[in-house]
């Protein structure tokens, strides 16, 4: 307890606040645990002091109620416009007519102005604030004018003129640049890491040009690098060349504070040498340092030194930090962003977890090299920095790398294999390169190299010599069989083992000591884990096997259309397995057309092609196009093969699935029941069709709310699949995922989670991270997380899935639209209505087309309506929500929970509308729907659990 002497004593209270504020500023940036400890240490037993510190910390996070008022007053004062009138004669400064004020900062004010003589052009006119010796500023500018005039670069804004206003303030006239500060542009456009690097690369090249003309910028920072999109291209432009130098006046200033206020550069971007004693000691490497900071911020969303900390530090301390303190590496800084990492990653269109892995290593090295305290250790020019960025982007070893053997070896392996995939991630490029040689090595030992074009031709030469139809048939069967053995999972697994063994051997050959070897092999192994071997193998199979196979068919089977069709069909099937639908389609179309023409519509092979055409379109999400093929196929198979033929059973099941995809569960039921019954009679061992039907039936039961039966069937299917194929098989994974879905539908979220997680991880492993089935599994997992309120975990997954689905399918696919709606819902839950509308609006037309007549459409419209309502677009929201309600009532019934959800949406809309525009009778409408909701609740039976 405090002594009574200080109670109510004004001086004591003031001193306590002083002390509390010191503690407040010191602990504010800390993590919670660390903060608590520091406060306890600083306050000791002084309860009042502690209370005051806590009050400040609480207040720092609390909203300040009338801050909006200050903005209004400020806007008014700006409109009255003190600066403009003071400096200009009416609306003119010198030869320039002021058009509008476009910016203001610590330096002064910028105007959009028009120059009338000698040429008429729009310029930017920057008036520097009072407190500078105008004559000196203009003199310094004149001294550099010659050099500035020599600069001619598309990414540098030209500086035309300088002068003094009527009141004696210096001003500069520059090329008018439209654009946003680099950091803001990148965040608003959600540019990925690669695009950000490309911008910095261009800026470096521009700086290099300036440096070669003898001009140093001295004040590179985001607001001096403006970026705009011009003709679809991202164009950065450096502004304010020559101004920092002209206005640097520190040598003539006396007091520290004045000196500080006029300190050239912004503290966050100031180089150690600028923070040093002599202002003259600045060269081109000062700009390299600032670019390093800019790159740092573009990558991590934060400056190397915390801005708040710099601003609250005393002047001397500030200079010491800049000169002496080593900033954390970008990847380290990201890991300390804690809660903000989600936002930072989202604005870079990347998952939070991937962001820091991507930056760790090479990008860390590049940034830290540019930001070395000792400029002799920095890149010696902006051009050298640009070159290293280019090296990184093309997958070459960067110069900034520490001299580690492991890194050099890896890069050497990658570079010398020459196979770089288009994905851009270094890890993947590395893997692909290694796969290139590993694959060749493996296939050399096996029969599989027959799949290469050369072997194709050899086999064919034989066949053509024989000219016998049955031999040709054998050839095509052999080829098809071989193609069907192409297995990206096995290839991926084999490659990893292969390459690891080679790496270990290489280390041994180089004479690396045993202890070091183990460490490097472990590091190497962890690098490999970063890439999905299956995805890489898929790409590789396409490039090294399927594409050459197509070329060979084109060349060699022109005179053998039936063989040609069989091979095309086989390759199309491989592509569909790999989810490369666009590649599959032309092959599938041609195979089907040829077979129809030459074999007739009822031929077994033609039936296969009809079926596969339907499946291709269905899996691609083009449901309405798929259905005619599937129905035709079933009709012909029933007639030609009979109802109990395995192929017919599959065709029956396919129609059932089509109905499920369309959200018409009731229509699916008869098909599924028939297919399941007939499949039980099949003699296969294991009976794959029957096991699949168990899963399909379970899905249907789940849709119908018969969870217990559904769960039972799924567990039965899982058991059979495990026995038939083991745990790591795609069919087994389907069963595992289905169990998760059923548990989730019953609200047993915690029980569902391990199943869904296993389904996701298993499919990532077995099918690859880009496969539609993997995406569906992730999507279901993400929706489960949402249901559990784990919004932060769900959102990045949802974005990942949506991005990949858009790439695979576009908007017109049920899966994509489910993800769009899911992301919309996530954003609405976070009250980010505008973003939700932005995400959903592009899918609206596709939803109406693709989801018409299904429950998914009114769910989509409900979220879209909510987003519009949240944005205050009430009339539009009303239209959408009324439509959603009507559709829900039609599809699901008047008293279904979907219908009620739409009605709740309407009540919320009208309530908000009434609050925004009272007296328009919206309150009455809200009441009307409320009453209707109440009535519905009274009649409806509580749902079965």
């Amino acid at each position: 307890m405090n002594s009574s002497a200080s109670e109510g004593d004004g001086t004591g209270d003031a001193a306590r606040l002083e002390r509390a504020s010191e503690i407040f500023f010191a602990v504010r940036g800390m993590g919670l645990a660390e903060r608590d400890e520091a406060i306890s240490k600083a306050c000791g037993v002084d309860v009042k002091l502690r209370g005051l510190v806590m009050l400040l910390l609480r207040g720092a996070d609390a909203p300040m109620p009338i801050e909006g008022l200050a903005d209004d007053i400020r806007a008014a004062a700006d409109r009255v416009g003190g600066e403009k009138s003071a400096d200009s004669d009416g609306d003119r400064i010198g030869n320039y007519r002021l058009i509008s004020r476009i910016g203001e900062g610590g330096f002064g004010v910028v105007y959009d102005a028009e120059q009338e003589r000698p040429v008429r052009r729009r310029v930017a006119l920057k008036v520097i604030k009072l407190g500078m010796d105008t004559r000196q500023v203009v003199a310094r500018f004149e001294a550099e004018r010659q050099a500035l005039a020599l600069m001619d670069h598309a990414n540098i804004a030209k500086v035309f003129d300088a002068g003094a206003t009527a009141t004696g303030r210096p001003y500069f006239v520059m090329e008018l640049v439209k654009g946003l500060p680099a950091t803001r542009y990148c965040d608003e456009q959600k540019l990925g890491i690669r695009e950000r690097l490309e911008i910095v690369e261009i800026v470096c090249d521009a700086l290099q040009h300036a440096h070669q003309k003898g001009v140093i910028h001295r004040d590179i920072k985001p607001s001096n690098v403006l970026v705009a999109t011009i003709d679809g291209k991202v164009v950065p432009k450096i502004i304010d060349f020559g101004i920092a130098k002209a206005t640097s006046a520190r040598l003539t200033e006396k007091t520290i504070f004045t000196e500080f206020r006029q300190m050239v550069g912004t503290p966050e971007y100031m180089s150690p040498e600028q923070a040093g004693q002599s202002a003259e000691d600045v060269d081109t490497r000062t700009d390299v340092y600032a670019i390093g900071v800019l790159l740092y911020e573009l990558l991590t969303g934060a400056t190397p030194f915390d801005s708040e900390r710099l601003r609250s530090a005393a002047y001397g301390e500030l200079l010491r930090i800049i000169r002496e303190e080593d900033p954390p590496r970008p990847s380290t800084r990201i890991s300390t962003l804690a809660g903000k990492i989600g936002d930072v990653a989202a604005t870079r269109s990347i998952q939070p977890a991937r962001l820091s892995t991507l930056i760790r290593g090479e990008l860390d090295w590049i940034v830290m090299r540019a930001m070395e305290k000792d400029r002799a250790r920095r890149y010696d020019s902006a051009g050298a920095l640009a070159a290293d960025i280019r090296r990184y982007l093309s997958g070459d070893a960067v110069l900034a790398a520490p001299p580690s053997r492991g890194y050099q070896v890896r890069k050497f392996v990658a570079r010398n294999q020459g196979a770089v995939l288009a994905t851009g991630a270094v890890g993947l490029a590395l893997l692909a390169g290694a796969i290139g040689f590993a694959w060749q090595a493996r296939s050399a030992q096996r029969e599989r190299d027959a799949a290469t074009a050369e072997r194709n031709r050899a086999v064919l030469a034989e066949a053509e010599t024989a000219k016998r139809a049955d031999e040709l048939k054998k050839v095509s069967e052999f080829q098809s069989k071989m193609l069907s053995q192409v297995d990206p999972v096995a290839a991926g697994k084999g490659l990893v083992a292969d390459v690891s063994a080679r790496f270990a051997r290489a280390l041994a050959d180089e004479g690396v000591p045993e202890a070091d070897r183990a460490k490097q092999i472990e590091l190497f192994g962890s690098q490999w884990k970063r890439v999905n071997a299956t995805d890489a193998a898929r790409e590789l199979i396409d490039r090294t096997i399927l594409k050459p196979a197509i070329e060979a068919i084109d060349k060699d089977f022109g005179g053998q259309p039936v063989v040609d069709a069989a091979l095309r069909q086989a390759i199309a099937d491989r592509y569909v397995d790999l989810a490369m639908f666009a590649e599959a389609l032309p092959l599938q179309e041609r195979a089907l057309a040829t077979r129809r023409k030459l074999l007739g519509d009822d031929h077994f092979d033609t039936l296969t092609s009809i079926n596969n055409m339907g499946i291709l379109l269905q899996w691609w999400g083009k449901l309405s196009e798929a259905e005619p093929y599937l129905r035709e196929c079933l009709e012909r198979k029933r007639r030609v093969l009979g109802d109990d033929h395995k192929e017919t059973v599959i065709a029956i099941a396919n129609i059932g699935s089509q109905m499920i995809y369309l959200g018409r569960a009731a229509e699916a039921e008869p098909y599924y029941i028939e297919a399941l019954e007939r499949s039980r009679k099949l003699k296969d061992e294991p009976n794959r069709v029957m096991i699949m039907m168990l899963g399909s039936m379970a899905t249907l039961l789940n849709e119908q709310g018969k969870y217990i039966e559904a769960e039972k069937l799924n567990r039965e299917g899982l058991e059979l699949n495990r026995r038939a194929h083991g745990s790591d098989h795609k069919d087994t994974l389907v069963s595992i995922g289905n169990i998760g879905t059923v548990l989730k539908a019953q609200g047993k979220y915690a029980e569902a989670e391990p199943f869904m997680r296993e389904a996701v991880e298993g499919r990532r492993r077995v099918l690859g991270g880009e496969h539609p089935d993997t995406l569906v599994a992730i999507s279901e997992f993400e929706i489960l997380l949402q249901a559990q309120g784990k919004i932060d975990e769900a959102e990045p997954l949802c974005r990942e899935v949506l991005e990949k689905q858009l790439k695979l399918f576009g908007y017109e696919s049920v899966d994509t639209l489910i993800s769009v709606n899911s992301l919309g819902g996530l954003l609405i839950a976070q009250k980010k209505y505008e973003e939700a509308a932005k995400v959903m609006a592009p899918g609206e037309d596709a939803a109406r087309k693709t989801l018409d007549g299904t429950a998914r459409l009114h769910r989509f419209l409900l979220n879209l309506g909510k987003a519009r309502a949240g944005m205050g677009e009430f009339a539009m929201a009303e239209k959408i929500l009324l439509e959603a309600r009507e559709r829900a009532a039609k599809v699901r019934g008047e008293n279904h929970k979907d219908t009620r959800a739409c009605e709740k949406g309407l009540v919320e809309l009208y309530t908000a509308w009434d609050a925004a525009a009272p007296g328009k009778g919206m309150d009455a409408k809200a009441e009307l729907w409320k009453a209707r909701l109440k009535a519905a609740e009274d009649v409806s039976v509580p749902e079965k659990k």
Binding site: D13, L55, L56, G68, A70, A77, V80, S85, A86
Partner: protein
């Protein structure tokens, strides 16, 4: 309406060159002008449609500035804003107090202060009064921080402008503002919880 063009302009340019007394002399003039403007603004609109009226500080600052400062000599904008901040605080407090009494007397009009999005007029008035009292308390503990908060909240001033008026560095202003803001917001949540 006060006619004070010449003297205000002279006082302002004196204030801009650092004359503290001129600042002090300016305040009553600006205050009187703002109050008169606020009164006439409300009267003018009361004759209108009779629905909700809003006292717009932005319009007041604008008009006050246009009226009081000689267009030929608009120097010392920062100093004018600083004085206007104090005057604006007083005008808003008067307004809120008057609303309080009028409510008890039964006033049919609803007058609120614009710029306070989302809040009802009653809470706005309470916030202004509470802030006014807290600022007075803060001024006893840390006068400069309280002054910075007043200029920022009631004058809409930028850190650079405040730095110029008070004669300290921009960083000192930032720090003062952060302290004042944390203290005020902390106190306001505290009283809200009780």
């Amino acid at each position: 309406m006060l006619r004070c063009d010449v003297s205000v302009s002279d006082l302002l340019s004196n204030a801009a060159s650092g004359d503290e007394r001129s600042m002090a002399e300016l305040l009553p003039l600006v205050y009187a002008e703002l109050r008169a403007l606020a009164g006439s603004y409300l009267n003018r609109h009361r004759e209108g449609d009779g629905r909700s009226h809003t006292l717009q500080p932005t319009a007041l600052v604008h008009e006050a500035y246009m009226k009081m400062v000689d267009p030929g000599k608009r120097y010392g904008r920062e100093h004018f804003m600083a004085v206007a901040a104090t005057a604006m605080r007083q005008v808003l407090v008067d307004h809120a107090r008057k609303k309080g009494t009028e409510k008890r007397g039964g006033d049919r009009d609803r007058v609120s202060i614009s710029g306070l999005a989302g809040a009802t007029d009653v809470t706005q008035e309470m916030q202004v009064l509470e802030l006014h009292q807290l600022l007075a308390e803060l001024a006893r503990l840390n006068a400069r921080a309280a002054r910075v908060a007043e200029m920022r909240l009631f004058g809409g001033m930028m850190p650079e402008q405040m730095a110029l008026v008070i004669g300290v560095s921009r960083m000192t202003v930032d720090r003062d503002w952060e302290l004042a803001r944390a203290w005020l917001a902390g106190k306001m949540t505290e009283s809200g919880d009780e």
